[in-house]
């Protein structure tokens, strides 16, 4: 198992070609999966015996919540690589993942609130998961703002990487402290994700949506990385060749 293909990925020109070749395919696969998920989730899946039709928001809320955490972990790993090995491409990854992650965290929060209203009558419930999502959004905004505020690009990326890694350590602590805080007074209403019992016909569309949106955000991050990568290596020879090639 030689790892050369992986090491080559960290070289800017190679990554540019790799990204340009694979992102369109990833986006097509993502579109197909999302369409399947939508059809399966909205039309084929039967209504939930408890929550009726409103549980269909799960097909957007759960993938968004899962993505917000997965993208943050990816960003923190990129941050570690930036801090330890100073790989330039990891800086592009860190900067590219932050806005995508922030957008999906905001989506997870919004859909969580839209789901909360019909099921508990309140838009905002200080449930452990929703509160952790809110903290995650603040962390994302902190990373983006910190990176935006510093003028020198390399130092800005390292500062953002530092905050991303420190935030990563903080996420489980916040999750635990909110769980502990929530358990002090037993909330009368049922818990937020009343875990509607999902049988197969409901579950597969959910996987489809989750995988589809994950592929989409991966492709989106790679497109942003391409732009950031090209911007940082403007004077390199390979940039002229690649950008002036007719294919683009």
């Amino acid at each position: 198992m030689n790892w050369t293909w992986f090491h080559k990925l960290s070289s800017p020109p190679h990554f540019h070609r790799f990204a340009r070749r694979w992102t369109p395919w990833m986006e097509c696969a993502a579109a197909a999966l999302v369409v399947y998920g939508l059809i399966g989730g909205l039309i084929l899946a039967p209504p939930d015996y408890q929550q009726g039709e409103v549980y269909r928001i799960i097909y957007v809320h759960v993938p968004a919540a899962w993505l917000s955490l997965a993208l943050y972990s990816g960003m923190a790993v990129a941050g570690l690589i930036v801090l330890i090995w100073r790989v330039k491409l990891a800086e592009c990854a860190l900067i590219s993942i932050a806005p995508v992650g922030a957008s999906f965290t905001a989506l997870a929060l919004a859909t969580g609130m839209l789901w909360g209203k019909p099921t508990w009558g309140a838009y905002w419930v200080w449930d452990a998961r929703l509160t952790s999502e809110l903290v995650l959004l603040f962390l994302y905004l902190g990373v983006i703002a910190l990176h935006g505020a510093m003028s020198e690009p390399r130092a800005a990326a390292r500062a953002a990487a530092l905050l991303a890694v420190v935030g990563w350590v903080n996420v489980p602590i916040v999750r635990y402290s909110v769980d502990w805080w929530n358990s002090l007074h037993q909330t009368s209403s049922i818990t937020l994700l009343g875990k509607p019992t999902l049988d197969a016909s409901m579950l597969w569309p959910l996987f489809g949506m989750a995988l589809g949106l994950t592929l989409f955000s991966a492709a989106n991050v790679m497109r942003r990385m391409q732009a950031e990568n090209v911007r940082r290596n403007a004077r390199q020879r390979w940039v002229r060749e690649q950008l002036e090639a007719p294919h683009v």
Partner: protein, 222 residues
């Protein structure tokens, strides 16, 4: 080895002494937040005592953010931070010295003044003791988190929005366990559980934050 940290401590002590009444700024800020809160509520409000732990912790957090704003900025501007980065002594230890100095000269006065605020917020009996213990145990973590925020934003002309945005997510567990200890004591439960959790968060900050501050210090443009 620890000479460096002690030297930094002495330097900070002399600096705060020469800066005159500037060290009192967080104290005044703390008093203003508490007074405004009490006057905001109707006199003899029954719920004031219950809300008191949260008010004290929020006032402490805001006062620390205000107090730590220029902790690293003057050093970064005067080039002292760059000298620290290049000194043979281990940088995390120097940063630890600086953070301890910041706790001593900013957070400690607030913790000593806090019982007055609790009396002002009409807290009674058990809860006062539990909240004060929580303040003692939690304030190192809070002051270190605000110190890290200050270190990260040291090279910027003004931290403005950034300092609270970076500090808020990291300080939430401290505020939750801190006021949780007082609330537990109010209900007559033993406040030991949340205090232990708060102590563990504090120890995590004491061990980890100096290294993060060292990495942040290295970021400053030379």
């Amino acid at each position: 080895m620890t000479g460096g940290a002690l030297a930094i401590l002495r330097r900070e002590w002399m600096l705060t002494r020469h800066r005159g009444a500037n060290w009192a700024q967080p104290l005044v800020f703390f008093a203003v937040v508490v007074t405004a809160f009490v006057l905001g509520a109707e006199p003899e409000a029954p719920w004031l005592a219950e809300a008191a732990p949260a008010v004290v912790w929020v006032a402490l957090l805001l006062a620390l953010i205000v107090g730590s704003e220029r902790a690293f900025r003057d050093d970064a501007r005067s080039g002292f931070l760059q000298q620290l980065v290049r000194s043979p002594a281990p940088l995390p230890l120097l940063m630890f010295g600086k953070l301890v100095a910041q706790w001593l000269f900013t957070a400690l006065p607030l913790v000593l003044v806090a019982p007055l605020a609790m009396v002002a917020l009409q807290m009674q009996g058990e809860a006062v003791g539990a909240l004060w213990a929580a303040l003692w145990v939690g304030s190192p973590a809070l002051s270190m988190v605000t110190g890290l925020g200050a270190a990260l934003t040291a090279s910027l002309p003004r931290a403005g929005l950034l300092l609270p945005l970076c500090v808020l997510p990291l300080s939430l567990p401290i505020v939750i366990f801190g006021s949780g200890a007082a609330r537990a004591a109010e209900h007559g439960l033993s406040a030991a559980g949340p205090l232990y959790l708060l102590a563990s968060v504090s120890l995590l900050c004491i061990c980890g934050i100096p290294f993060a501050c060292a990495a942040a210090a290295k970021l400053q443009p030379t």
